[in-house]
């Protein structure tokens, strides 16, 4: 059992944290993955890690901790998929970007183009276009320099423009 939820006090604290942070985290997860089920799983993972942490963040830093953790989990997920799809016990039934896009009412071409981006470019695109964050805020969220954010966004826009032009 995870420390901190055995008693009612711990459970109440977890519930408060969840109600405060999980909705926005979930929306970010959906934007990053295009998959609501996966996004919920990753949000749960982030909360599990928060409660497993031997040095948990102070309350004011919980949002930052959870967002950073979620971004890392999405990164891990995409990288892991590239390798683990061949592992028997994790037979993958993930739908295509087009299917997900259709299910969510999204533009399939844009969804596929974003899905094809390297993780950091994709994260920068989501944080910029979905959350309207500044380059500095994106840099802080991902843990890279502001200059790197500009570079990732520039490359991502170039790649997206090229791919979407090809699909016209």
């Amino acid at each position: 059992m995870i420390a901190g939820v055995e008693d009612q006090t711990g459970l109440d604290r977890l519930r408060q944290q969840y109600e405060r942070h999980a909705p926005a985290l979930f929306r970010l997860g959906v934007a990053l993955t295009g998959d609501r089920g996966l996004a919920e799983d990753l949000v749960h993972d982030a909360f599990v890690r928060l409660h497993r942490s031997t040095s948990p963040p102070v309350p004011d830093a919980e949002r930052t901790y959870l967002r950073r953790t979620l971004l890392n989990l999405v990164r891990d997920h995409h990288r892991h998929l590239a390798v683990v799809r061949r592992i028997p016990f994790t037979a993958n039934d993930e739908p295509s970007a087009e299917l997900v896009a259709g299910r969510l009412g999204r533009d399939a071409a844009v969804a596929a183009a974003i899905e094809a981006l390297p993780h950091r470019q994709r994260a920068c695109v989501v944080l910029h276009y979905f959350e309207d964050q500044s380059d500095a805020e994106i840099a802080a969220a991902i843990g890279i320099s502001t200059g790197s954010v500009k570079t990732h966004l520039h490359r991502a826009r170039a790649a997206l423009a090229a791919q979407l032009e090809d699909l016209r």
């Binding site: 969840y18 929306r27 409660h51 040095s55 890392n72 061949r86 016990f89 276009y129």
Partner: protein, 394 residues
């Protein structure tokens, strides 16, 4: 604002309205209250359930002189000699296997990434080649020993040195691939060895090759295990025109500083191919392992300097890499195919240093069958467990 900007902002509009599904917190609470798998659930029953569902099996395929081709038939039962075996416990799914030189009791023990607790995260264990039973657990996901807080998504690769040190890659904390070590003799956890993916230890145990998948293109890097220094770092050329490529497996030859590198290519975000190249890590020079098939994967060196690969490698139904229909013996000296064995779908392949043992894990619902015409009579011994690991030597 450009058209592209507008299109991207509009793309995310539905996500801004996304709401957590009902009962989300209850599911989190249930998950956090769930007992730890090993502490609360009988291992054997769980492993059996996993095997029942997934039907994992493994095979052994080829002979050491490398000149024989064995073809499967629809009804192999009349020609296959399978020694009866009595598993002491149920086998577990094998994901990534490496056989000898980890020979504890003859060619019967190998290290593998497995999932006996069924949590979807790879653990590392020593398995019996005859029963598939776990002999010793090296690492249990998610937390790597000595790792910073952050957890992981489990082990995805493993290799074992001639000195009995297990090197295993844990994905992906604290970095995109971290390799940990465990000394079988002393039982000592060696902690974080280096960052990188797809670890492969040299025959003398002094060096470890890893892939740097953060680099574009990916690089093959060699770490001196004595000093910890990164002594080689070579970029890989383009795997496929216009495609991005990810190193997914490395094998180190038993006789020199040659490594075989598997790369999966993606084009437009979709699987577009897989190939194997040999690299001399002293110079960075590469040679493609060209079997004539469209897709080669899962390299494993044999003691006679030939290379085993799964071929043709292809996209699996889930959209990822890769499953071979044959195990091919490819000779780097002549760049010719020396022989092949038809199999079902290979998920992992490795050969022992003495060249006589090959284990290929595969998946599917039907029990694996070894079959064939001319080669069957030469089979020495086939041992195995139903739906588990089957191994043969001759």
């Amino acid at each position: 604002m450009t058209d592209l900007d507008e299109r991207l902002r509009a793309h995310f509009d539905p996500d801004r309205r996304a709401e957590l599904p009902p009962g989300s917190f209850d599911r989190l609470e249930a998950r956090m209250r769930r007992p730890a798998p090993r502490a609360a659930r009988p291992y054997v029953a769980l492993a059996a359930a996993v095997v029942l569902v997934l039907g994992i099996a493994a095979i052994v395929v080829t002979r050491s002189d490398g000149d024989q081709t064995v073809h499967s038939t629809d009804d192999p039962s009349s020609t296959v000699t399978t020694a009866p075996s009595t598993p002491t416990t149920d086998p577990v799914p094998v994901t990534t296997a490496t056989t000898s030189p980890l020979l504890v009791d003859g060619p019967s023990v190998f290290a593998a990434v497995v999932d006996p607790d069924g949590d979807g995260l790879g653990d590392v264990a020593l398995l019996s080649a005859t029963t598939g039973a776990v002999i010793q657990t090296i690492y249990t996901a998610p937390h790597p020993p000595s790792a910073p807080e952050g957890g992981s998504t489990g082990a995805i690769a493993v290799d074992v040195s001639s000195e009995g040190v297990v090197y295993y890659e844990v994905c992906c904390e604290p970095a995109a691939g971290a390799v940990y070590g465990y000394d079988l003799d002393s039982g000592e956890d060696l902690g974080l060895i280096t960052y990188g993916t797809a670890p492969a230890v040299s025959a003398d145990g002094s060096e470890l090759a890893v892939a740097n998948t953060s680099a574009t293109p990916n690089r093959v890097e060699v770490v001196d295990l004595g000093s910890g220094d990164r002594v080689e770092s070579w970029p890989l050329g383009e795997a496929e025109p216009g495609a991005s490529a990810l190193v997914t497996d490395i094998a180190w030859s038993p006789y020199d500083r040659t490594v075989a590198v598997e790369r999966v290519s993606y084009s437009g975000g979709a699987f577009s191919g897989v190939r194997v190249d040999l690299m001399d890590v002293a110079t960075g020079a590469t040679t493609p392992a060209d079997t004539g098939d469209d897709g080669v994967a899962m390299p494993a060196f044999r003691a006679d300097r030939t290379l085993l690969v799964a071929s043709p490698a292809q996209e699996t139904t889930d959209g990822g890499p890769i499953a071979g229909d044959r195990v091919v013996i490819w000779d780097p000296a002549t760049q010719q195919v020396d022989g092949s064995v038809e199999v079902d779908r290979v998920a992992s392949l490795d050969a022992s240093s003495d060249g006589t043992w090959v284990i290929a894990a595969r998946y599917g619902s039907a029990p694996y069958r070894i079959a064939g015409g001319t080669g069957v009579g030469d089979l020495g011994e086939v041992v195995g467990a139903p739906d588990g690991v089957i191994a043969a030597s001759w």
